[in-house]
Amino acid sequence: MPRLRLPRNLPALLLLAVVFALAGLPVLSMLLGALRSGPGGSFGTTALARVFLTTAYLKPLMATLEIAFHVALLGTLFGVALAWIMSRIRPPGRGLLEVGIMLPIFISPFVGAIGWITLGQPNTGMINVALRALGLPTINILSYGGAMFIMALFLVPYGYTLIRHSLDRLNPELEEAAAVCGAHTRGTILGVIVPMLWPSLLSAFVILFVLSAEMFSIPGLLLVPHGYSNLSYAIYAKTTHWPINQAEASAIGIVLLVMTLIGMAIYAYAVRVQERFISIGPKSPRAVMRSGPWSLPALIGCLIVLIYVIISSVLPVLALTLRALLPYFSGDFALSDLSLVNLRHTMADQLAITALGNSIIVTAGSTVLLMMIAFLVALGRVRKPSALSLVTWLVASIPIAVPGVLIGLGMIWLYIRTPIYATLAIIFLVMLARFLPILVRMFETGLIQVGRELDQAAAICGASDLTITLQIRIPLLAGTMRSAAAVVGTQIFNELTASALVFTSTSSVLPVVIFNYMFDGNYSQASALALVQIVILMAGLAFLWLAGTALPAMRSRMQTGRA
């Protein structure tokens, strides 16, 4: 009886099909959307011609490039400084500081921007009130410099993760060889570390550039009211001002998409170069400062990181907390004004409760699915390079620069005639499309850094691919997986722009309810719900930490005890 022979690359083809359905189709739908003149209307090139053949959007494009460049530069510099301190100076309390550095990604930029307006607006911002009382010059967060600074603060963790990872995994023998040859710290940094690290710096810069170019929340709240206009604002205007022109919004989205594709090409090049500087297995990085965790350099390093944590997370969360406890914020208040009324109202609101349940379901479900798909895409790209894996990687990467609102539009066009539309399932699909690129990036970096020699050794010993994955790759990537789950889970829990287009009364999620409270002018209740959101995220992260670190350690101690 003849045996059915499946093509050798069937799994890779299946993966491509899944990735195309999840990430490619919504983007394709958005691209086709640029050719639509209206709902159910005819196709035409008017929108594309206006965007690409006139100067109508030249000024917003230049503004986008300018702010993205500045934010990427500043964010990368912050990321390098923090990664250097954490990896090489090794301040005391590194575990807690590490959590502190990553905190901004757990705060939605939209909510963070509200916190920063409360802190830094010129007249009555809390920081300015304090500075004025001390006779010091005040700050203006509602300025280009202010918005750039806040955007950089919120994006630093992405750059930090990439740079820190590379810094930790740089082959320490090269640094030791430089030291043996008499090179000083400065010489080692400039002559050994920087030349090995530049691909990571470039990767971090590109990722931050792309994320800044797409971001609407912070420039939208801080700069647009004062006459600023960029591409993400142009998209917002075309999707909210009557008569709505979704075709033109999609066409503007293509500009961002082109920028991303260029960015991804640079990133891919940087990653390829980065492979030259890897170590086999986890080796400890070399500490530059050998004087112990309580030495002056270590304490200064600790102080710098603490200042970053306070500015990027503690202050905006404190401002939010204050707003949640006050009926309104007018710059001054008495202690007797503080109450828990807003929190009680929020927790009694059935819409908020339903949305909270939906958010938890969507976050848990799509994080698990994304982890599996992203791991396979990254594995194909790093361990089994081929035209097929490259195409799969590219398709999975494309949504990174498509603004959320356009992913939402693409989803509507794609699924409006299907039973998925207006259900929680479309919210799942939104999350899978939006966050696949970030997770693929994280797994890719992780896989590159652990090297392929262990895989090859296991294969020579006869291990199957599945065995290698289960017994070598996944254990070595345990840390990356925890980080990936934390980062992507947070992003999903905070996602607003696409969900705001596809939600219904029964499939609403938490950020949509927070946004609607704010849209109503109910900033106090919105702040209260945002705090609930942050607390739940922290609880989820604590659970991840417990499951990933504390429990295995406890089990290991128990086993050692029994032995």
Binding site: H241, P243, G331, R417
Partner: protein
């Protein structure tokens, strides 16, 4: 643009011509029983959540067996979403409420609503039935200039009554405007574009006052309360001013002279709604005297458009006792034909001037 024009022409023609079979609406035991059997109704709306929750709580006091699913799609995005769904044959929403007359007229022209005639139609003001039998406007919006008394003196506030006084150099850098993306923001812009001596030159002078231009009215109120931009111009209305004052925030308001009064929420029953009886019951109740009283309640706080219903709002009664309060003088109503035909052009002019 051409499409909007055609829609407006078709619509205005439709209003004066014999229309499709119009269903008479009244609350009968049979309708209540059928609605209760359906058990729920989905309302897509644009107003603040708290206001709509309060209004629906009043509806549920009368009809506790009908659950109202509230779905907020604010501004014109809500109208666009409904248009897309209907074009795709998705019938999910039972009742629609929107404030943008242009968007509402487009929806009506696309036959998005069931033509109905409530039994008390004779009690409604002329503006309430401008899009009848598709849409009925249950309330009116009255535009106010809001200010923060901690940062604006009484003498300055008195000046704000006059439309041109906002151009006083003393107000430079203290004003907020809002992008005219929503119905409630468009009406005062229509006045500006039509009033003698105002128009584009006025907008340019306003821009020279270095205003902050917010994306929505809530941001402008927040900046007002915090003192960042202590005068909110062209974009706030009486009901939100009353609600903000009620919260204890440092806010007062004046009516410009003339005061702009325009359509509030326009309500319609969506065609092929999944809960047709509950939708009819809800709309009939909203347009009834009981509905009008609920709309004039402490949280929704809009003035009902029923001509036989006095202004029973407690918020207005309270502020009327304040020394700073002065009732409106002359009233100006937008020409709806101008609204339907020209609002996109006015929006574009505003945006071009303000984002120069």
């Amino acid at each position: 643009m051409k499409k909007i024009l055609m829609a407006a022409v078709a619509l205005l023609g439709g209003v004066t011509q014999p229309v499709l079979a119009q269903e008479k609406l009244s609350i009968t035991p049979a309708l209540v029983a059928a609605a209760e059997k359906e058990g729920q109704v989905t309302l897509q709306y644009s107003s603040p959540l708290e206001a709509m929750q309060a209004l629906m709580a009043d509806f549920n006091k009368a009809y506790p067996k009908i659950h109202v699913n509230l779905e907020r799609k604010a501004g014109t995005t809500g109208a666009q979403s409904l248009l897309q769904e209907l074009a795709a044959g998705v019938h999910r929403i039972d009742v629609f409420a929107g404030t943008d007359a242009g968007a509402n007229s487009t929806l009506a022209a696309q036959h998005a609503f069931v033509p109905v005639v409530p039994e008390n139609v004779k009690d409604m003001g002329a503006s309430a039935t401008v899009l009848a039998p598709s849409i009925y406007y249950s309330d009116v919006s009255r535009y106010v200039v809001m200010y923060n008394p901690k940062f604006v003196t009484d003498a300055e506030a008195a000046k704000l009554v006059d439309w041109k006084s906002i151009l006083d150099p003393a107000f430079k850098g203290r004003i907020s405007l809002v992008e005219p993306a929503f119905g409630v923001v468009l009406a005062p812009l229509l006045y500006v574009m039509n009033a003698p001596g105002l128009g584009e030159p006025y907008l340019k002078q306003l821009k020279a006052q270095n205003p902050a231009i917010y994306l929505n009215t809530a941001q402008a109120r927040d900046a007002l309360i915090s003192g960042q931009q202590p005068i909110a111009f062209l974009a706030q209305w009486e009901a939100v001013a009353l609600g903000t004052i009620e919260s204890g925030a440092p806010v007062r308001f004046v009516y410009s002279n003339p005061m702009v009064e325009s359509l509030g929420n326009g309500w319609g029953i969506v065609t092929e709604s999944p809960h047709p009886n509950a939708a009819r019951l809800l709309l009939t109740w909203l347009l009834s005297r009981d509905g009008g009283l609920a709309m004039q309640g402490p949280i929704y706080a809009m003035r009902s458009s029923l001509t036989n219903l006095d202004d029973t709002r407690a918020g207005i009664a309270r502020v009327a006792k304040e020394s700073w309060y002065h009732p409106p003088g002359e009233v100006w109503h937008p020409d709806l034909k101008d609204w339907f035909e020209n609002s996109p052009k006015y929006q574009e002019i505003f945006t071009n001037i303000m984002h120069q």
